[in-house]
């Protein structure tokens, strides 16, 4: 196969991988970097499960080819915890029952992390809008909305 070399940094660890151009960044992270925290639901940009940060910006990793990430810094859900200690968004999702099966959760964690970095004091309407790009089929979203409010509050008091 016609494979190209790609160098990228994921969660501060450098990787050099060889991928077909048609391989998505999501598949590359899972299969070549072993970062299986990033999940693939729809594989065409609708569900948001594969959301990661590329150079600090939240994007769908199923809508980028791995070759396009050459030289980029990626953060996946694994990069938002410190060791065994959950990050503030993850903690809030646990505390507010913001997940059931957990399949969509990595995408929510990344999206909410990026959203709160840009808007630390969101209104409820802004939270609903920010969550609209991630689908959850278990929870009915109420716990997730509460988790975003809790994570925002914990960021404000600097408990993270």
């Amino acid at each position: 196969m016609n494979e190209l070399p790609v160098s990228l940094v994921a969660n501060r660890v450098p990787y050099r991988v060889f991928v077909e151009p048609r391989k998505t960044l999501a598949d590359c992270l899972r299969e070549d970097c072993g970062l299986t925290g990033t999940h693939l639901g729809c594989e065409h940009g609708v569900c948001g499960a594969c959301t990661v940060l590329v150079d600090g910006v939240a994007v769908r990793s199923c809508l980028m080819f791995a070759v396009q990430a050459e030289g980029s810094e990626i953060t996946t859900v694994e990069g938002l915890a410190s060791g065994d200690e959950l990050g503030p968004v993850q903690r809030a999702l646990r505390d507010e029952h913001g997940l059931q099966c957990g399949f969509c959760t990595p995408g929510f964690v990344i999206s909410v992390h990026a959203f709160l970095a840009e808007n630390p004091n969101p209104t409820r309407d802004e939270i609903l809008e920010a969550l609209s790009g991630n689908l959850c089929r278990c929870t009915g979203y109420q716990g997730i909305v509460r988790a975003v409010e809790r994570a925002a509050a914990s960021r404000r008091v600097g408990s993270d």
Binding site: M1, N2, L4, E20, P21, R22, K23, T24, D27, E43, H44, G45, V46, G48, T51, V57, A58, V59, R60, C62, L63, M64, F65, V67, Q68, E70, S111, A114, F115, L128, E129, A130, S132, G133
Partner: protein, 288 residues
């Protein structure tokens, strides 16, 4: 890994891009933000032997406000447009962007990609049409300008010729007593709209309408100008009830899509009311 195999090119200049487009012809496609093209590749609705990635071409990025015009490079991210002070001189740009997909999509999706993709329900194509934007395209033969009214030919079909690349869009600034609105009805936030409108109104000193632009989305195979409705409100100061009549006039001759999400009649009715609502909002936004 769902798309069919392709050869990947990552040129760094417009000259190299158009050179590759000329070399590979119909077998090549420019890859902008990929928020529409990659899903189509993943679903195998389309395939290309060559993808020419525009993401390493810095000359295609940027927003510049000059007297009377806001110029936007094709690879400017939609999120950038949303935040830009320079783009604020064309309020429809800032009003349209929050309606495009979700923030994760706008972080990657580009202004030029959206316009060149030419979805009939696309907000930026509709804004380009409402404002008669000038679209500059390049090829190995040089460059030419296509006005938005000549650009959108059909579903995902544009006036871009073989080997041509959309490089820059120029949006005219309306500088007098103006108000703008974009309004749409979608089944869920971020979904493709069933029907929508982008409109601009300029008032004369008497409070009558001196200039009107009404462009419709989701109601045909391309964005559409409602020219009869525009003509009907010039010189007038319509009441809320009259705006509904104007809305029905705007959709009178249309043949909107008929699908599982909305019947043709329902889309037409939504269109009429969304035009009335949009015009009302635009009028209310004209500074006193």
């Amino acid at each position: 890994m769902k798309p069919a195999p392709f050869e990947y090119h990552a040129p760094e200049s417009v000259d190299d891009v158009v050179g590759l487009l000329a070399e590979h012809g119909d077998e090549a496609r420019a890859l902008a933000g990929g928020q529409s093209l990659v899903p189509m590749l993943a679903l195998r609705l389309t395939r290309f032997e060559h993808l020419i990635d525009l993401n390493r071409v810095p000359a295609l990025v940027g927003i510049e406000g000059k007297t009377g015009t806001v110029t936007v490079g094709a690879m400017t991210r939609q999120a950038e447009l949303e935040r830009s002070d320079a783009a604020a001189a064309v309020p429809l740009l800032g009003l349209a962007t929050p309606l495009i997909g979700h923030f994760q999509i706008r972080n990657r999706g580009t202004v030029g990609g959206s316009i060149a993709h030419a979805d009939a329900a696309g907000e930026l194509p509709t804004v380009a049409l409402a404002l008669d934007a000038e679209l500059e395209v390049a090829s190995t033969a040089g460059s030419r300008t296509i006005t938005a009214s000549d650009f959108f030919l059909g579903t995902w079909e544009t006036a871009l010729g073989p080997g041509e690349l959309l490089i820059t869009m120029r949006f005219p600034v309306w500088s007098r007593r103006c108000g703008f609105a974009i309004d749409e009805v979608a089944r869920r936030y971020g979904d493709f709209a069933l029907a929508g409108v982008a409109c601009g109104i300029e008032l004369n000193v008497d409070g009558g309408i001196a200039r009107a632009a009404i462009a419709l989305l989701g109601l045909g195979s391309t964005p559409l100008r409602a020219t009869a409705a525009e003509a009907a409100i010039i010189g007038r100061a319509p009441s809320a009830g009259e705006l509904v009549d104007i809305g029905w006039l705007a959709v009178a001759d249309l043949d909107p899509p008929n699908d599982i999400h909305a019947s043709r009649e329902y889309r037409r009715a939504v269109g009429a009311h969304v035009v009335a609502r949009g015009l009302g909002t635009a009028l209310a936004r004209v500074p006193a």
